[in-house]
Symmetry: C4
Amino acid sequence: MTTEIIEFNKPKLKSPIFIEGLPGVGNIGRIAAGYLIEELGAKKFAELHSSYFMPLVLLHPSSLVHVLKNEFYYWKAKKKNQRDLIILIGDSQSINPEGHYEIVENILKYIKKFDVKMMFTLAGLSVTEPKHKVPYVLGTTNSVKLVKKYKKYGIDFKISSHVGTISGAAGLLLGRGMYHKIDGICLLGESIGFPMIADPKSSEEILKVLIKILNLNVKTKKLDKKIREMEEFIQKIQNIEKQTIPQTISQQPSKISDEKERLTYIG
Amino acid sequence: MTTEIIEFNKPKLKSPIFIEGLPGVGNIGRIAAGYLIEELGAKKFAELHSSYFMPLVLLHPSSLVHVLKNEFYYWKAKKKNQRDLIILIGDSQSINPEGHYEIVENILKYIKKFDVKMMFTLAGLSVTEPKHKVPYVLGTTNSVKLVKKYKKYGIDFKISSHVGTISGAAGLLLGRGMYHKIDGICLLGESIGFPMIADPKSSEEILKVLIKILNLNVKTKKLDKKIREMEEFIQKIQNIEKQTIPQTISQQPSKISDEKERLTYIG
Amino acid sequence: MTTEIIEFNKPKLKSPIFIEGLPGVGNIGRIAAGYLIEELGAKKFAELHSSYFMPLVLLHPSSLVHVLKNEFYYWKAKKKNQRDLIILIGDSQSINPEGHYEIVENILKYIKKFDVKMMFTLAGLSVTEPKHKVPYVLGTTNSVKLVKKYKKYGIDFKISSHVGTISGAAGLLLGRGMYHKIDGICLLGESIGFPMIADPKSSEEILKVLIKILNLNVKTKKLDKKIREMEEFIQKIQNIEKQTIPQTISQQPSKISDEKERLTYIG
Amino acid sequence: MTTEIIEFNKPKLKSPIFIEGLPGVGNIGRIAAGYLIEELGAKKFAELHSSYFMPLVLLHPSSLVHVLKNEFYYWKAKKKNQRDLIILIGDSQSINPEGHYEIVENILKYIKKFDVKMMFTLAGLSVTEPKHKVPYVLGTTNSVKLVKKYKKYGIDFKISSHVGTISGAAGLLLGRGMYHKIDGICLLGESIGFPMIADPKSSEEILKVLIKILNLNVKTKKLDKKIREMEEFIQKIQNIEKQTIPQTISQQPSKISDEKERLTYIG
């Protein structure tokens, strides 16, 4: 079957902003996007299944099976200064390299149908030493004009001195998105903990930036409680993944040893 | 060729129940389904071959080669309180993760043509210590209304306190089946032995539950003898699989360390 | 590209016999088929290339590159008691499991166009101790009626007491061939040496059987000389394969520890 | 998505010569082709993306993401004795064996549309001891008549005594190219250093040969400076590749132990 998007209904949206929060470092993006869905009361309208997810089902306490999936939610703007949203969360990313490209391509083609022109992908950046009192929000983009527009929101776009690459969906959505004419920013929350442990503070910082950009009426005070609820489920999937697929490509961005390392690209 | 279903003839069946018994933990499902075919005199009508099986043939004593396959059998109801059946057994499951999804998808699309609306997948659950005198039958489902309907048959639906995931066809058929509008229950026989050794008692308990649900006229007394005959063949394939494909994803459900571990899923 | 058959010309053949001799244990089949092509003066008419071969080219002393391939040759019967032949030799088999199925399927579909109804696949069987003075020729088939017809040629069809499986093209061509209505026999030359070292004596015994069956006017006395010439080339490819693809699935048939092990298959 | 060629514009070219310089041993080909693009002022007109590249984006100092790609440049002949050129450079080759075939096939089909009839692929050959004062340029071809035509340019076509195979695009483009009726020569620069370290001297020797053959007005004196600029970027990608994909098939040609080893190929 490779990859399939199952659409339950087709919401009418006005050039929505797309937000991606799939599992990754510290589950920072996953938690932030999941909390946004909860607080906004966003509605699920589609699912993505893929042969590139682990071939298993999870079991809910209700005795229901749960096949691994990514889920599309929508939310309609309530005020003039807001925008319709499509938010993608999920249980898993591809367990093999090729799958990442295929899944990202399916997502991009699907959101194009809703006339998406701008996206935010959410990720974490694992650092060994805390550099700031509050976790820092870094940003990278596929359209250089966005740097100017968005740095006022407290996003540090000097990311290339901290990290050399972004793996998986958060990076590829931007990298391939520009060829689909979708502008995008990847917001990375600096995280001091182990890559596999949720970092609520970092998620909160990303959320605050996103809420400000999107003029959303969302408070982050319930985040801690919600994180504990979500965390168990997400952690379980990652443990299974680690046990069953040891060779999975790391979704941790590769670090740069020399901060001054330049990245000049010559034809 | 990826995956192909070869149909020898197309039986006329009245919304049959689908039963799956492919190799897995203790071969509990495989043995139960194989015995049912024997005792009912079910007829083979189709085979599934796949590039995701091992690229080899087995040799029968007759000198005939045997390509790895899954096999579809049918049985027509004899009494009013019975239902037509399609039973799937086989030599192998996919040897790589993607293959599981593809094979399951092919099976679901094929049985849809026969108007299948309900299925039972049969599997084993390996436990380290016996918790009951007779092996216990656990159940999980893709439709919560089935819990109420079927728990009277002695199926323990509190499975999520014992196991976190079900791998391979038994789980994916349910997980993906709901998107094809096929309700299903996975019956798991508790097994104390090694996952790779057949567990006749556990198969018998699953069979008893299935016979009761389906009002079948089948006695389980010949099971021991039949198991010995089947076991050799099935074991041989698994040994080859272990030798040749060491990295095959485990088809053993992942266990839960903490029985109280909750699985709350938040958007 | 996956797998492609490049046809240089389409010979008119009268329901030819198909002979396969791809690399494997002791290169017994490869050498026998290669010698037959040489001695008969068979003509190449098609090549098979595949993404499942190693992604490299070999270098000939002429400085020409050589892409890995399988090659189809034909030979037209000269006498009434002979049959037209299609002979397949090659540099390589698939380096991953799925590829075997795809390549075999492409071969079967291609030879069906020439109305092939019978095939001989040639392979080696590695044994630790010599059981006979001359290397023994074993046989397995996909059509039980062939056992009776061909055992008079000195083929031992009691193969299942020596070996449990046949991997790769020699086995799968038979196993899948029966679903394409092509009868077949796999001739296996018993070989005492290391699986990776050519076994001229074993190739010779297979050749003798084949020559008798097909009423060919071929002497085996030049075999030794030819083997030395072929061997270098074939060995080189296998060395590269071993260096670059360590995890390649073994093409050695799995041995049976207990000679009396029965293989009863029950539905 | 597998492999996709994105065409920004379709230049009108007169049966151009195709030059390939993708990453490989000492990045000799990549550096030579990149320098040529710079010095000629060649224009980019297409990109190739592939699921077989690593699923990540690189980060530029400008904060822009960079998806892994191969890039097609063209240059139009200025003088009568020159030819239009298509030059391919890139960040990466396939990270799995099948991908090499698919990418090469896509490249060949694409350049056929421009009526390419001749190509030069550029690669490195790692040697343990320097055999000559200046790095030597070796050559191999897919058309034996080219040996005579091009050996006057100082290309040593006795390559098969040094190396047994050429892996990846440089080899496969020639090997598969002959089936697309594109003649080709692979120029290999002898390199004494580690395969992973750029070898400017070797790139320069290849460039000199290429400039002479193509009658180009290019001086190699700025090469050292340019190499330092390019090297960082290329090296970074290779480091990531090494870290994340340890099992990647080696793109180093396999060496021949015995210089006299013959490579006679017998049907």
